[in-house]
């Protein structure tokens, strides 16, 4: 249950130049090749995901307009999609977005406790970002990991069978990781092994 008054603010275009690196552009080209020639718009969600990752974890008007120009569609078509899907962030977020599942099975297995504990630990409320811009806390609906409830997702990583001790460890690890120069990207194979 949320506030019944919606402050859907009007965003402002700052006309800051945004552009993908040549490497990323190649990635975009390869994504475009998945769809028929006349269906470039199909690449909208994947390209927005790349843009969000590339430009600091969230989207702004300039980024979205850039994506629109890449796919040859109107900016409003991009705004319509970006506001529909819950994983697109229209306001700045921290380096780690912690999304705690609050739905059914997680709720009966302690999902709310996890959320409240994180609020205390990070000294922020749901929806807010820590002052050091490291963590954003979000309450989300079903993450599809009900058998290992309670769960949360940090960026794309799942953390399952949570308890309060585990959360301390996770935050600690993330803090340490963030202090490293640039973390080596783990391949899925390494992560699964």
């Amino acid at each position: 249950m949320s506030d019944k008054h919606f402050h859907h603010k009007l965003y402002v275009k700052k006309n800051i130049d945004v552009a993908f690196s040549p490497d990323t552009l190649r990635k975009v080209e390869s994504i475009l090749s998945h769809y028929p020639e006349d269906q470039k718009k199909s690449a909208l969600i994947p390209v927005l995901q790349i843009a969000q990752e590339e430009f600091g974890g969230s989207l702004n008007v300039d980024i979205m307009d850039y994506v629109a120009s890449l796919l040859n569609i109107t900016p409003i078509e991009v705004y319509e999609v970006a506001t529909f899907y819950s994983q697109f962030y229209l306001d700045p977020v921290g380096k780690y977005v912690i999304e705690v599942c609050q739905t059914g099975p997680c709720a009966i297995c302690g999902g709310e406790d996890v959320l409240h504990y994180l609020e205390q630990k990070l000294k922020i409320k749901v929806g807010e970002t820590t002052e050091d811009k490291l963590f954003t806390l979000k309450a989300v609906e079903c993450l599809g990991a009900c058998g290992s409830a309670p769960v949360m997702q940090v960026n794309t990583e799942f953390y399952e069978y949570l308890n309060l001790d585990k959360i301390d460890d996770i935050l600690e690890t993330l803090r340490k990781e963030s202090a490293l120069p640039k973390p080596e990207k783990q391949t899925w194979k390494e992560r699964l092994s």
Partner: protein
């Protein structure tokens, strides 16, 4: 030709005709009301669920009834189809429910709304709504946003029919607004601070079934029932130049497209005709526009209206 029976009236229609269009050909009380469908807007319809009807026989070939109510605006007639609209208590109950859903978050600010008197939602709730509200929660509200000097936008009144989106998509060269966010947080918006500025943007007002999009220069200038709608035309390079002038004496208060009896615009007009030709001498006036007897504009009150008996099973159960 296909034969279809709606509320015991049988008619022959061409292939591809929808149930709603067939009902309009028959006319009268059996025509389902429609809030989101607009015959001149491609892809419109199917969303508000106001025009739902019951198909008791699918066709001669396959006489099975359809399992659920169907939106008459988007369901094609099959040969031998038998449809119930006001003869089905189930349909009337569902329609009453839709009216209730559309009104729970509506501000009900008709006394200060420029659309009052020509509002489809007002008419719908008069015909199918209930006298009391069961909604005790806080109503949903949005921050007001400005979309320029020509169109006044009231997001709280919007019923998300998408008509203005289709109009912008189909009649302007670049759509600047759309439906943003989702669920009951969804709203019509431009997302960024900008004025909707386009030669045909004013048509968004004419296709809006409620008071969400109204004529800004006309705002609070008059009530529509004090005005006399006159058919008029002028030669225009951008549009057909066929319009309705809303006059009091010799003064033109507002110019709109000509709407048919279902509130649908017949010819879309350009902003020059709508906003810049407020002088009666700029127009060739054809004469007063025929007004439906149900309209407050001609009568100041409703006349010859049959209010369908709305069935409330819950009430029956309780009694």
């Amino acid at each position: 030709m296909l034969t279809v029976t709606i509320d015991n009236h049988t008619i022959e229609v061409e292939e591809g005709t929808t149930i709603l269009q067939a009902a309009r050909l028959i006319g009268g009380d059996i025509v389902p009301p429609a809030m989101c469908y607009h015959s001149k807007l491609k892809d419109s319809g199917g969303k508000c669920r106001t025009c739902m009807v019951k198909v008791v026989q699918g066709s001669t070939k396959d006489p099975r009834p359809m399992p659920k109510l169907v939106p008459s605006c988007r369901t094609a007639v099959m040969d031998g189809m038998v449809v119930q609209n006001i003869t089905s208590p189930e349909v009337l109950e569902a329609r009453r429910a839709v009216v209730e859903f559309l009104l729970i978050n509506h501000p009900l600010d008709c006394p200060v709304c420029d659309q009052a008197g020509e509002c489809d939602l007002q008419n719908l709730s008069y015909e199918h709504g209930s006298n009391t509200s069961r909604f005790e929660e806080e109503k949903r509200t949005y921050d007001p946003i400005t979309i320029g000097d020509l169109i006044q936008f009231h997001p709280n009144r919007c019923i998300l029919c998408y008509r203005c989106v289709y109009a912008a998509e189909q009649f302007t060269n670049k759509r600047m607004h759309g439906v943003l966010y989702r669920g009951d947080k969804a709203e019509i918006s431009t997302f960024i601070q900008q004025a909707i500025d386009n030669d045909f943007s004013g048509n968004m007002i004419d296709v809006c079934p409620v008071g969400a999009l109204t004529d800004k220069p006309f705002r609070f200038k008059n009530r529509v029932w004090f005005l006399k709608p006159m058919d008029a035309h002028r030669s225009c390079t951008k549009c057909s130049g066929k319009a309705t002038l809303w006059m009091r004496g010799n003064e033109v208060y507002r110019v709109t497209g000509r709407r048919n009896k279902y509130g649908e615009v017949e010819d879309f007009i350009c902003n020059e005709c709508r906003y810049e030709k407020k002088d009666a001498t700029a127009w060739e006036i054809e004469g007063p526009r025929a007004i439906e007897p149900t309209s407050v504009i001609s009568q100041n009150h409703y006349r010859n209206m049959v209010k369908p008996s709305v069935i409330n099973p819950l009430k029956e159960k309780m009694e």
